[in-house]
């Protein structure tokens, strides 16, 4: 049960981080944190229900996260190469 609370807390911390960080990398990291929080809650539910399904799912999640990181970092590096910055606040061409 405590793990559930922990995962919710972790999710919130991730959300907080995503809101307050300006660098794209850190924002992304915070979001990864939220993903892992969800994984944590899955495990605790698995424990509560006694079913192993959820634990298997977590393995998938790790793979998914890895794929996301690959694409995400590639994207951020490409942006950095072109703009010399990864601050998300400076990306405001598209609006309205």
């Amino acid at each position: 049960m405590i793990w559930l609370v922990a995962s919710a807390l972790l999710f919130s911390i991730g959300a907080y981080g995503a809101l307050t960080r300006r660098t794209a990398i850190l924002v992304f990291l915070s979001i990864e944190l939220m993903l892992n929080a969800a994984a944590l809650s899955l495990i605790s539910f698995s424990k509560l229900s006694g079913s192993l399904d959820a634990q298997v799912v977590v393995l998938f999640i790790i793979a998914i996260a890895a794929a996301e990181v690959a694409v995400g970092l590639g994207l951020i590096v490409a942006i950095f190469r072109r703009r010399e910055t990864t601050s998300v606040d400076e990306l405001r061409q598209l609006r309205g």
């Binding site: 559930l4 939220m34 993903l35 969800a38 539910f45 229900s49 990306l91």
Partner: protein, 747 residues
């Protein structure tokens, strides 16, 4: 099943082969793979294939929406850049992911599918490699990752509440609700429903137009397929209001936001937000499984046409002004875009109208009338910007544009290539970007063919929407027919007779019927879902009845409350219908309820009122009628109809000698009478004069000659009120006492 294999197989194998074979070959193989996968969707339409222990479920819904996704993919492929082999490959991966998403009821598979099609899209969004492209890509990616996290957290809570990863599991409690709402938020994000729409205008605008096309058509199809599995009508109680809020906000925000846009892609991004809202309406209703795919198909075709034309114009921003005069400069493009716009607007007779109508109807059937009204109001607002764009296309081009056209043509002749019509060559993107985005077949035969095919299909669906709808309904379990009693209506008043209970139910089910709680009998629902049960006389006894139909074993069912009236009609006795009677007058007799006041009519004219005696008998003298067939009717006081009898009155022989003394046959007592009415009697004078008085005022005189049957008769149709008639022999002074005085209260 084969579809999955083809898509996944082609994607995997091509990833390896692409490094070896030529770019052109990659494209061709990709196209072949998509077409093949599409074919396997169509083969065996209506059948459901399950595999992997239920993780994969290839039913009509999956088939239809996979087709929409493949269509979008093909389109994006044929119109898209050809300089790099990754482009077709990424598209193929995305379509594979969408197919999986459309074909799985398992949340974890859905999550994986989501990532499989999202990750290639993030890359495709930045394909242009310019500032806007990167900005769009990063926004899409970061927000998308957040969406995935939310989805996953939702799955976790859902699992916690239901212990299952299967979509559509029933559950309850705050945990369940929270999980469901989180999942809903994730999908609302993917389909760009407010308030999770933030990314969509920016990404639509920043991405290359072909990619936008792909997003607008395919992504929605995949996401809604999954939503249809997760948000089933059975669970409407749990998620309905949340969805309703999203729909309301989406339709409002999308349509209002689009009003003052100046850039085409951004405008249609807002439009797609609004359309996501309309699509959401389809989820609420009982047959959304058929209507939402239908909407997606027509919307995909129409919006596909729009973005295809836009992508043929430019892969970057398309200010609305640039569309001016498109019809005159490129009639095919202008026409295609015009058609698409009108269809999205939902103008009859185009397919978009039927689609909109069907999803609105879903919401109406689920009882969300407020939402339907809001959706209609917002469509009305939407009509403004759609029409604005439409009319821009059909305006005359400005002289500047015409000059540009000539310039572009000259450039084409000189350099062998040019950007889309109307764009000065100098302004076209140069260098790397241009190289990356060089069109494969921007105006080539396949792209053109696709354009025409889409227009044709849209036209076909306009004329025969039933075709599409039936296709999407194939293989669906028939909607559960709710138990109901259709006749008699509740609260109605019936007269006893051959009344029957009628209603609907599940075909083949047997129902128990009750009258005021007493079992009447059982009835089996017919194969058409209807049942009927003739009521026995006991169930038609006068008074209030509550009829109830219950499913076996239930304690409550559908009820109707009706009231049976006493069969109270008065009737004639003595005379047979069609009998011949005396021309000199006769007596009508009959029965009625004791004490009942009756009124007797002759061909619609009243002969006066009678009251039935204690034995229920009544009689009335009829003054000599004119010859022919007369219809007599006796009605209860104030009723509109009653028992009728038609009698034949012989023509009287002329020249008879009349010797009867004066007599008045009917209305002797006066009283209340309907109009028109007739009174009369027999007599011997050659004519009588009737003096008509109202109060003290004499308002008329009428001379009545004696008829051949020695009768006299006065027919009157005065206005309401009290009237006095005095009958005298003609020629007698009015100061003499009359032969008869009749005072009537005319109604």
């Amino acid at each position: 099943m084969l579809t999955l294999y083809v898509l996944a197989g082609f994607a995997t194998v091509l990833s390896l082969l692409a490094f070896v074979i030529s770019r052109e070959a990659t494209r061709i193989v990709t196209v072949a793979g998509l077409v093949l996968a599409g074919l396997f969707c169509v083969v065996g339409w209506g059948q459901t294939v399950e595999a992997f222990g239920g993780l994969y479920r290839f039913d009509t819904l999956a088939r239809g929406l996979t087709l929409v996704a493949i269509l979008g993919g093909l389109w994006a492929l044929l119109l898209g850049p050809a300089k790099k082999f990754e482009y077709p490959l990424l598209l193929l991966f995305a379509v594979t992911g969408m197919h999986i998403m459309a074909s799985s009821p398992n949340l974890v598979v859905l999550l994986i599918a989501l990532e499989v099609f999202s990750l290639p899209l993030y890359v495709l969004a930045t394909w242009q490699r310019d500032e806007k492209g990167f900005e769009a890509g990063l926004k899409y990616f970061l927000l998308g990752a957040l969406g995935a996290a939310i989805f996953l957290y939702g799955i976790a809570l859902y699992f916690g509440a239901t212990g299952s990863f299967t979509a559509g599991s029933s559950g309850s409690g705050p945990l369940y609700i929270a999980g469901l709402f989180l999942i809903m938020a994730a999908f609302a994000f993917k389909t760009a429903m407010v308030p999770f729409q933030w990314w969509s205008p920016d990404v639509y605008q920043g991405s290359p137009t072909v990619v936008t096309l792909f997003m607008a058509t395919a992504v929605k199809a995949a996401a809604f397929a999954a939503m249809l599995r997760i948000f089933t009508p059975e669970g409407l109680e749990a998620w309905g209001v949340g969805m309703a809020v999203l729909i309301a906000l989406s339709t409002l925000f999308g349509n209002l936001g689009a009003l003052n846009q100046t850039e085409a892609k951004r405008l249609f991004a807002y439009s797609s937000i609004a359309n996501a809202g309309y699509l959401g309406l389809g989820l609420l209703g009982p047959t959304g499984q058929a209507t939402v795919p239908f909407y997606l198909l027509t919307y995909g075709l129409a919006t596909g046409l729009i973005f295809a034309v836009l992508s043929m114009l430019s892969n970057q921003d398309v200010p609305l002004e640039r569309l001016r005069g498109l019809w005159y400069r490129k009639p095919l493009l202008g026409g295609a875009m015009g058609l698409g716009i009108l269809s999205v607007l939902g103008l009859p007779p185009l397919a978009g109208f039927w689609a909109k109508y069907l999803v609105f109807q879903e919401a109406a059937r689920a009882g969300f009338y407020g939402l339907v009204v809001l959706a209609l109001v917002t469509s009305a607002i939407g009509a403004y910007y759609y029409l604005k764009t439409f009319f821009l296309i059909f305006s005359k081009p400005t002289p500047v544009q015409e000059a540009e056209d000539r310039e572009a043509e000259a450039a084409l002749a000189q350099f062998g290539s040019s950007e889309a019509p109307g764009i000065p060559v100098a302004a076209a993107p140069m260098g790397l970007t241009q190289g990356l985005m060089a069109p494969a077949a921007r105006m080539g035969a396949p792209a053109l063919g696709l354009l025409l095919a889409a227009m044709g299909l849209l036209g076909l669906l306009s004329v025969l929407p039933g075709l599409g709808l039936r296709a999407f309904s194939a293989g669906l379990t028939p909607a559960v027919a709710a138990l109901s009693i259709t006749a008699p209506k509740s609260g109605s008043t019936l007269t006893a007779g051959s009344q029957a209970l009628q209603g609907t139910g599940r075909p083949g089910e047997s129902l128990e019927l009750f009258d005021n709680g007493n079992l009447l009998g059982t009835v089996t629902v017919g194969p058409d879902g209807k049942w009927s049960f003739p009521l026995p006389a006991s169930a038609q006894a006068p008074g209030a009845h509550t009829f109830e139909a219950r499913q076996p074993g239930q304690t409550r069912g559908e009820r109707v409350e009706v009231e049976f009236l006493r069969p109270s009609g008065p009737s004639f006795t003595g005379l047979q219908d069609g009998a011949t009677v005396a021309a000199t007058g006769f007596t009508l007799q009959g029965t009625a309820q004791p004490g009942q006041v009756l009124e007797v009519f002759e061909d619609g004219a009243s002969l006066g009122r009678v009251t039935a005696d204690a034995n229920g008998q009544w009689s009335l003298n009829v003054p000599p009628p004119s010859g022919g067939t007369r219809v007599y009717e006796v009605r209860p006081e104030g009723a509109a109809s009653g028992a009728r009898i038609s009698l034949v009155v012989p023509e009287a022989q002329a020249g008879a000698i009349c010797s009867q003394s004066f007599a008045l046959s009917n209305l002797q007592a006066g009283g209340t009478v309907s109009r028109p009415f007739r009174f009369g009697g027999v007599g011997s004078a050659s004519s009588y004069t009737v003096l008509v008085r109202r109060g003290d005022r004499i308002i008329g005189r009428k001379e009545i000659p004696l008829s051949a049957a020695c009768g006299w008769s006065y027919f009157s149709d005065p206005g309401p009120g009290e009237v006095t008639y005095e009958v005298r022999e003609t020629g007698k002074l009015e100061t003499e006492p009359p032969l008869a005085t009749i005072t009537l209260k005319v109604q």
